[in-house]
C-alpha cells in the first residue's frame, strides 16, 4: 500500500466509525440539551441495541447473508423492531432512574445514570457471556472498486461502507426535519431553552422529555445494529467505550447542538482511525480523552455550540 492508499483507507474507516459515533452522540446531545444530564447509560443502550438486533435476526431465522428481496423487507423490519425496543428501554430508564430526580441536585441523576450503566452491562454479560460474540454477516460485502469497477487497488471500499452511509444520512435528515418542522420538535426546542417557560406556554414538558428519550434510544438502537452488521462482533463492554467516544463527539461539536453532534462524531471517527494507523491503537483512547479534556477546558461550547452564560 502506498502512503496515500493508507490515508484514504483510514479515512474511509474513520467515516464509517464516525457515522456510528454521530448517531450515538445525537442521543447524548438531545438529552443533555433538554434536561442537562450526561446520560451515562446511553452507550450501553447502544451496546444492547446490537445484542437486541441480533436477537431479532435470530427470531426471524436469519443466520447468514440476506439476499435479494430480504434486503428490502427483513432488514428494514429488524431496524424498526430494534429501534422500537431500544427506544422503549431508554424511556424506561428515564422513568425509573432520572424522572424521580428532576428536582434534585444535578449530580444525583448523573450518579444513577452510572448505576444504570453498570446494570445494563452486567445484564449483557449474563445474557451473552463474557466472551465477544459473533454477529452474523447479514449484509453482503462486495469489494466495490475491484469487483464493480475492475480497479486493482489496495483500498478496500465495500458495499457495507456504502450501507452505513446510506442508512445514517437519511436518519439524520429525518431527525433534523423532526426537530425543525414538527410540533414535537418545536416543543423540544422550547423545553431545552427554558423548561419553566415552556411549561407555562402549555407544553407538556414530561411528555417532551419522553419523546426525547424515545428518539435518542431509537438512534442508539440503529447505531448498534449498524455496528454489528459492519464489524460482525459485539462485546458487553463496548457500550462504555463507544459511549465515551460519542460523548466526546457531542462535547466537541457543542453539546446541545444536533449539527455539532454529527460533525463531532465524524471528527472523532477520523481522529481515532488516523491515530490507530499513525500513532498506535494502544494510545487512541488516551488521545480521544485528551481531546475531550482540552475542548472542555478551553472551548466548553464546542465547535458549533452556542454560548450559554452561567446562570449566576
Amino acid at each position: 500500500m502506498t502512503w496515500w492508499e493508507v490515508l484514504v483507507q483510514q479515512t474511509i474507516n474513520g467515516l464509517t466509525r464516525g457515522a456510528v459515533f454521530a448517531l450515538i452522540a445525537l442521543g447524548y446531545t438531545m438529552v443533555y440539551g433538554i434536561i442537562e444530564l450526561i446520560n451515562f447509560a446511553h452507550g450501553d443502550v447502544f451496546m444492547l441495541g446490537l445484542f437486541i438486533s441480533l436477537a431479532w435476526f435470530a427470531l426471524l431465522g436469519v443466520t447468514g447473508a440476506l439476499t435479494g428481496w430480504q434486503l428490502v423487507t427483513v432488514l428494514p423490519l429488524v431496524f424498526v423492531l430494534t429501534m422500537l425496543t431500544t427506544a422503549a428501554l431508554n424511556v424506561a430508564i428515564d422513568r425509573v432512574a432520572y424522572r424521580p430526580l428532576r428536582r434534585s441536585s444535578r449530580l444525583a441523576p448523573l450518579i444513577t445514570a452510572i448505576g444504570v450503566s453498570f446494570m445494563l452491562e452486567n445484564v449483557a454479560l449474563l445474557w451473552k457471556g463474557p466472551a465477544p460474540i459473533a454477529y452474523p454477516d447479514v449484509f453482503p460485502s462486495v469489494d466495490i472498486l475491484r469487483e464493480w469497477f475492475g480497479v486493482d487497488s489496495a483500498i478496500f471500499f465495500t458495499t457495507k461502507d456504502v450501507f452505513v452511509i446510506v442508512v445514517t444520512i437519511p436518519l439524520m435528515i429525518a431527525l433534523t426535519y423532526f426537530v425543525r418542522r414538527t410540533r414535537w420538535g418545536k416543543a423540544m426546542r422550547a423545553t431545552a431553552q427554558d423548561r419553566e417557560t415552556a411549561q407555562a406556554m402549555g407544553i407538556n414538558v414530561e411528555r417532551t422529555i419522553l419523546v426525547t428519550f424515545l428518539v435518542g434510544g431509537a438512534l442508539a438502537g440503529a447505531a448498534g445494529l449498524i455496528q454489528g452488521m459492519y464489524y460482525n462482533i459485539g462485546m458487553w463492554w463496548m457500550g462504555y467505550q463507544a459511549g465515551l467516544r460519542a460523548f466526546t463527539a457531542a462535547v466537541l461539536g457543542g453539546i446541545g447542538s444536533m449539527g455539532g453532534a454529527a460533525l463531532g462524531g465524524l471528527v472523532i471517527g477520523f481522529l481515532s482511525a488516523w491515530s490507530d494507523q499513525y500513532i498506535s491503537a494502544r494510545w487512541t483512547n488516551a488521545i480521544v480523552f485528551s481531546i475531550l479534556i482540552v475542548v472542555l477546558v478551553f472551548r466548553p461550547r464546542g465547535l458549533l455550540g452556542e454560548r450559554t452564560p452561567d446562570k449566576a
Partner: protein, 654 residues
C-alpha cells in the same frame, strides 16, 4: 457512657487479629485489604463529600500511589531512574506527595469547568492513566531512523511490577505474618481519620462546604474557589497515595488492571451509600460494600447452590452471584439516590417547600421583631482605625452590555464614607448588574471602579471581599446545608490565617484564632437576633431570619462598604422596621458605608443620604431623597404620578 463507646471500639480493633488467630478464621488479610479501600473512600470523600466535586477517576490517584511505591521499591525494572529498592518508609511519603502533585495537575484544568463537565474530565484522566501505564512499559521513540530511546520499560506495562519490596522494621515479620500489616494500615487509617476530622472542622473545611453549597456565594463571601478546590483535589489525592503505596507493598505486585474505572465507581458507591460528607457514613459505606462484595456474594452463591443440590433444581446449582457484582453496585447507586440521597448515615433534612420569597415561610406568625443586641464590640474596634475622609467607592463611566442589551450605560456613582446611598429604579434597570460589577462577578466593558484608592476592575470577587466590600443577594444565597454559625464563620474566612498544617496540628495560635472567630460569630448572631439558632441548618430558618443571617455573614467579612440587594423584600412591616433600624445602627456606630437597592420607598427615602435612580441602565437622577421625590423623570420612569399622594399613605411601589 459517652467515653465507653470509643474505648470499646479501640479495644475491639486492637484485639481483633489475636482473636482471629485464636479462632483460626484467617480473615486478617481480607480485612486489611478492606481497610485500604476504606482509606481510599475517605480520601474521595474530601473531594466529593466536602467540596462537592464529583470525581469519577479517583482510581487514577490510587494507581499513582501504588506505582510510586512499586517503581521506587522494586529491584526488577532496570531503568536509570529507579530500581534501587528504596525504603518503604521513604516511598510512602513520596507516593503521597506525587499523588498530591497529580491532584493539582488534574485539578488545575478542571477549575474552569463546573459540575458534570468536571466529572467527565476526571473520568478522562481516570482512563488516560491506566492507558499510559500499560503503554509506557515499552517505549521506543524513533525520529527518522534514529532511536534515542529503544524499548525502555518505564512502568512494567501490562505485566505490572513484581515483586515490590516490603517494609522493614527490626523484628517485625512483614514477610510471613498478616498481623503487622493490619496494624500498619490501622495506624495509617486512624491517623487519616483524625486528620480529616480536624480538616473538616477547620477554616478550610468550612470553605470546602461553602463551595459545595454555592460557589458564587462563597466567592462573594471571601472564599477563593480556585485554591480551595485545588486543595481538595491535592489532599484527597494524598490520602490515596498512602493507600496505594501500602496496597502495592502488601500485595507485592501491581498490574494496571487494578485501577480501572470500576474501582473508581466502587469507591464512589462507598461514599454515596454511607453519606457523602460524613466520616462515619463513609466508613460504614466502605464496610458494607466490602462485606457485601467479599462475603455475602460468595456465601450466598454457596447457599443457593446447596439449595439447588438439595432440591434437585439444576438451574440453581450453577448460579454464580459474583457475576452479578456490578449489577448490584449499579442497583445500589440507583436505589440510594432515589430513596435516601443523603446516604445511610447522612443528616436527614426536611424537604423544602417549593418556591421562594412568597411562600408560607414568608408570612410567619406575626413574631415580635427580633431583639437586637448592640453592635459587637470587636467590629467597633476594627472599624475605628480606618481613615475617615473622601469617597470609599467611586464608580466612573461603567458600561456593561449582554449581547445587544445595554445593562449599564456610563454609570457614575460615589459612596462617601459612612453614607447610605439608595439605588432605585424599575425592574430590569440594571441595579443588580451594578452590584455584580462592583463585586467582581461581572466584568465591566468600560469604566473605572476604585475603592479606597485602588482599582477593583479585574479582581476576583473574593479578592474584592478581602479589600472590604461585602454584599447580600436579592434571592437569598446562604450555605443551605451548613449551620447558622458556620455560615457566619465562612464570612470570617478571609480574615483568618490558619493553614492546612495548622488546621491538622492545631498549635495554640490556631486554637486561639478559632475560639476568637467563634466568639465574634456568636456576637454577630446576637446582633442580628439569631443568638439562639446557631446550630440550626440555614435552610430551616424562616425567611426573615435568613435575610438577617445573610447580613451577619456579610458583616463577618469586616467590610467597609456593604451592598444590600433588597434586604427587606418579603418581610412584614415589623421586620422591615427592625431591619431599617439595624442598617441605621451600622452606619452610626461603625461609620459603615452602605449601598442599598430597595423597592420599599418608605425605607429608602427614610434612611438614604442620597439616592441614585437607574432606568434602562442609565442613571437618570441623583440627589437627596427630597429632590428625587420631586424629580420629573423619576416620577415618570419609576415612582408614578400617584406617588406623592400615596407617600402620604403607607407603602411605596412594590
Amino acid at each position: 457512657m459517652k467515653r465507653l463507646g470509643p474505648a470499646a471500639l479501640v479495644v475491639a480493633l486492637l484485639a481483633y487479629p489475636f482473636v482471629d488467630r485464636a479462632v483460626g478464621l484467617h480473615t486478617v488479610h481480607a480485612v486489611s485489604d478492606g481497610m485500604i479501600y476504606m482509606l481510599l473512600a475517605l480520601g474521595l470523600n474530601i473531594v466529593v463529600g466536602y467540596a462537592g466535586l464529583l470525581d469519577l477517576g479517583y482510581a487514577a490517584f490510587f494507581a499513582i500511589g501504588a506505582y510510586a511505591m512499586g517503581l521506587l521499591n522494586s529491584p526488577v525494572l532496570g531503568s536509570p531512574l529507579y530500581g534501587h529498592a528504596w525504603s518503604f518508609w521513604v516511598c510512602i511519603w513520596i507516593a503521597a506527595a506525587v499523588s498530591a502533585l497529580l491532584g493539582l495537575v488534574i485539578g488545575a484544568p478542571t477549575l474552569r469547568v463546573r459540575g458534570d463537565y468536571l466529572a467527565i474530565i476526571t473520568l478522562g484522566f481516570g482512563e488516560i492513566i491506566p492507558v499510559a501505564i500499560r503503554n509506557l512499559g515499552d517505549v521506543t521513540i524513533e525520529i527518522g531512523g534514529w532511536r534515542p530511546i529503544e524499548r525502555l520499560n518505564l512502568t512494567g506495562g501490562e505485566n505490572g511490577v513484581n515483586p515490590v519490596g516490603r517494609p522493614y522494621l527490626p523484628g517485625v515479620p512483614f514477610e510471613t505474618d498478616p498481623m503487622p500489616w493490619y496494624f500498619l494500615i490501622l495506624v495509617i487509617g486512624a491517623l487519616s481519620i483524625w486528620a480529616m476530622s480536624r480538616l473538616r472542622d477547620s477554616r478550610l473545611g468550612r470553605a470546602w462546604m461553602a463551595i459545595r453549597e454555592d460557589e458564587t456565594a462563597a466567592d462573594c463571601t471571601g472564599v477563593n474557589p480556585i485554591s480551595t478546590k485545588l486543595l481538595a483535589f491535592a489532599l484527597g489525592a494524598s490520602f490515596s497515595g498512602f493507600a496505594g503505596s501500602v496496597y502495592a507493598a502488601k500485595l507485592q505486585a501491581i498490574t494496571p488492571g487494578a485501577f480501572e474505572f470500576q474501582v473508581s465507581i466502587m469507591l464512589l458507591c462507598m461514599v454515596v451509600l454511607g453519606g457523602a460528607g460524613s466520616l462515619r457514613g463513609v466508613v460504614l459505606g466502605a464496610m458494607l460494600i466490602t462485606i457485601f462484595d467479599r462475603v455475602i456474594l460468595s456465601q450466598t452463591t454457596f447457599l443457593v447452590r446447596a439449595i439447588g443440590r438439595a432440591t434437585g433444581v439444576s438451574a440453581l446449582t450453577a448460579v454464580d452471584l459474583t457475576l452479578w457484582r456490578w449489577f448490584f453496585f449499579g442497583l445500589g447507586l440507583v436505589l440510594v439516590m432515589l430513596l435516601r440521597p443523603q446516604g445511610l448515615a447522612g443528616r436527614r433534612v426536611r424537604p423544602v417547600a417549593g418556591g421562594d420569597a412568597d411562600d408560607e415561610t414568608a408570612v410567619p406568625e406575626p413574631s415580635a421583631p427580633p431583639r437586637l443586641a448592640a453592635v459587637p464590640e470587636w467590629l467597633r474596634t476594627r472599624a475605628a482605625g480606618v481613615d475617615a475622609s473622601g469617597a470609599v467607592l467611586e464608580v466612573r463611566g461603567v458600561t456593561k452590555s449582554f449581547g445587544g442589551v445595554v445593562a449599564l450605560n456610563q454609570v457614575d456613582l460615589a459612596v462617601p464614607r459612612g453614607a447610605i446611598i439608595g439605588l432605585i429604579g424599575p425592574n430590569g434597570a440594571g441595579k443588580t448588574t451594578f452590584f455584580n460589577v462592583v463585586t467582581g462577578l461581572v466584568r465591566p466593558d468600560a469604566g473605572h471602579i476604585t475603592f479606597g484608592g485602588g482599582s477593583l476592575v479585574g479582581l476576583r470577587p473574593n479578592a474584592i471581599v478581602a479589600r472590604g466590600i461585602a454584599r447580600t443577594f436579592q434571592s437569598i444565597r446562604l450555605f443551605a446545608h451548613m449551620s447558622v454559625l458556620d455560615n457566619v464563620l465562612v464570612g470570617e474566612h478571609c480574615r483568618l490565617e490558619s493553614s492546612v498544617a495548622g488546621a491538622v496540628v492545631r498549635p495554640p495560635s490556631v486554637v486561639a484564632e478559632e475560639r476568637r472567630a467563634r466568639e465574634r460569630a456568636r456576637s454577630l448572631l446576637a446582633f442580628v437576633g439569631l443568638a439562639d439558632k446557631e446550630e440550626d441548618l440555614a435552610r430551616n430558618l424562616p425567611y426573615g431570619d435568613q435575610r438577617r443571617l445573610e447580613i451577619a455573614r456579610a458583616l463577618a467579612t469586616e467590610p467597609r462598604l456593604l451592598l444590600l440587594d433588597e434586604p427587606t423584600a418579603g418581610m412584614n412591616p415589623r421586620e422591615t422596621e427592625a431591619l431599617t433600624e439595624l442598617i441605621g445602627l451600622l452606619r452610626r456606630e461603625l461609620t459603615l458605608s452602605i449601598l442599598l437597592i430597595e423597592h420599599d420607598m418608605e425605607v429608602v427615602m427614610g434612611i438614604s443620604d442620597r439616592i441614585s435612580v437607574l432606568d434602562y441602565g442609565t442613571r437618570i437622577a441623583e440627589g437627596t431623597p427630597a429632590e428625587i421625590q420631586r424629580h420629573p423623570r423619576v416620577i415618570e420612569a419609576y415612582l408614578g404620578t400617584g406617588y406623592e399622594a400615596e407617600a402620604a399613605g403607607r407603602s411605596g411601589p412594590r
